[in-house]
Amino acid sequence: MTILLLDNVVKRFGGLVAVNNFSTQLQPGELCALIGPNGSGKTTIFNLISGIYEPTSGKIYFDGLDITGKRPDVIAGLGVARTFQNIRLFKGLDVLGNVLVGQHLRVHSDPFSAMFGLPNYTREERMMREKGMELLEALNLAHLAHEEPSSLPYGQQRKLEIARALATEPRLLLLDEPAAGMNRTESQELMDFILHILDTFELTIFLIEHQMRVVMSICLRIIVIDHGVIIAEGAPADIQNDQRVIEAYLGVGDYASG
């Protein structure tokens, strides 16, 4: 039962074709990576899935539901969460606050109950806070609950952004270059973190990276794109030796020895 299906998705910006006939399927519980050189259209694809862009043509299905061109908040409500290449934390809220925002989409009480402090709202707020702290504990961030996000080290900020996405109770998590700007140790830690959440929460994870090395060890399936087109797909070992992939990365000697 496919959880994510992209069917011949095309995205044009004026004369530029950013994504060209991109089709793929993700199964529940998968950890799949989308890799490719810079500018190959990876983030565009995420933007298409999460609703920031509308495909020029083609369809996107989430758990059987057609989500093509729906608004980002609607798509998030259906169970698709994402993080961004440049960490987008809410600077005016503390760590717990950021996570609580992630829970907002499931709030039952209406604004009036909140405005007048009615008991049904106060109860819900308390439960939200408990849940939020639980999530932070599960991810080893609870001790930072009242810190300012900007005071956290980069790695923790990244984890917080992921925690916040998890707070929306997604079934599909899109991570856009989570290891960007990290060194080897930090990337490794992050990858362990990602594996950990894959098991702990019932998730499917779709991961963008442009460094092949990072995803080789943990992903079972890798999709390689270049100039908006899939050029290879399969297990890490096959990808590494694929001629087209090697050519695409030529000059960006990052994929190093297996």
Binding site: F13, T43, N47, I52, F84
Partner: protein
């Protein structure tokens, strides 16, 4: 409506449009580079008019000294504002820049009330601009063609400058991508200052010509024309100088023509511009000449 009356209205509309266009260009140049709506621009128009006024009325200078003086002093004011109130805020979150622009506008208006007094003053129109003559049955006052020609001339000069000089090219580059252009060795600060200088100069010309056409000046005289000129810039496509010209002329003509054909709506004439703005922002925010800029995520 008789043909001559129609032509009179049209001439009126075009000259009003020229004034809007001159002011609109100033908005659009600054917006193109800094993505900032210079709220104070309308008030700079007012300052231009007042400096010219005091030059003639108090210092008894002939208009051909007063008017250029107004332009020079207004340029100075525009540059000072940019240095003092906008430049320091370039790195901080955008909304502080907006509030700064609002604050500068507020300050200029209040200063004007205090220094120039809130009571309207009569602007002395130079005699040669006051001649009425008849052209093909249509009565025209000499300032009308003067305003139109000045606007077109200045627009022509500016376009040449933007497209034929190195500095002009720098300005165009900055409006496309401010960071990269800066990295390529262009002195961003200098060019921005120049943009403000040009905008203020045109604002001064607009102010003086406005005072000639509507010879009653008061400290808040720049607010409404400024707002309308901004709307004209949006209509034409913000960031685009030709768009500002087109938008200005369109707005001026529409404003005059609606009142000409529906005199009962005269009281609402200021509301037309706002309505146009809202319609444009809702249905074609990039304006007539604008290009769509997708936001990078």
């Amino acid at each position: 409506m008789s043909f001559s009356l129609f032509m009179q209205h049209l001439a009126n509309g075009v000259s009003l449009g020229s004034l809007y266009a001159l002011i609109a260009i100033g908005y659009t140049i600054v917006y193109g580079i800094l993505r900032l709506i210079n709220f104070a621009h309308g008030d700079i128009v007012m300052v231009g008019a007042y400096v010219a006024f005091y030059g003639i009325a108090m210092f008894l200078l002939p208009w051909w000294i007063s008017f250029p003086l107004a332009i020079v002093l207004t340029i100075l004011l525009g540059v000072i504002i940019e240095r003092a109130a906008y430049k320091p805020l370039r790195e901080v979150p955008r909304f502080q820049l907006f509030t700064s622009a609002v604050a500068v506008s507020f300050l200029l208006e209040n200063l004007a009330i205090v220094v120039f007094s809130g009571r309207p003053k009569a602007f002395p129109r130079p005699p040669f601009m006051d001649q009425t003559f008849t052209l093909g049955g249509v009565r025209i006052v000499s300032y009308t063609p003067l305003i139109i020609i000045s606007a077109l001339l200045l627009f022509g000069l500016l376009t040449l400058f933007i497209h034929r000089t190195k500095v002009g090219m720098a300005m165009r580059a900055l409006s496309k991508d401010i960071e990269t252009t800066g990295l390529m060795g262009v002195d961003t600060d200098r060019v921005i200052m120049l943009a403000f200088a040009i905008g203020s100069a045109l604002a001064a010309v607009g102010g003086v010509l406005w005072a000639i056409k509507f010879p009653q000046i008061n400290p808040l005289m720049g607010v409404l024309p400024g707002l309308k000129a901004f709307i004209a810039a949006v209509l034409g496509g913000i960031g685009n100088i030709t768009g500002a010209m087109i938008g200005g002329f369109l707005l001026g003509i529409v404003e005059i023509m609606i009142v000409a054909f529906f005199p009962d709506l005269a009281g609402y004439r200021d509301a037309f511009a706002y309505t146009i703005l809202i319609l444009v922002l809702l249905f074609r925010p990039t304006g007539i000449m604008g290009e769509v800029e997708p936001e990078k995520v």
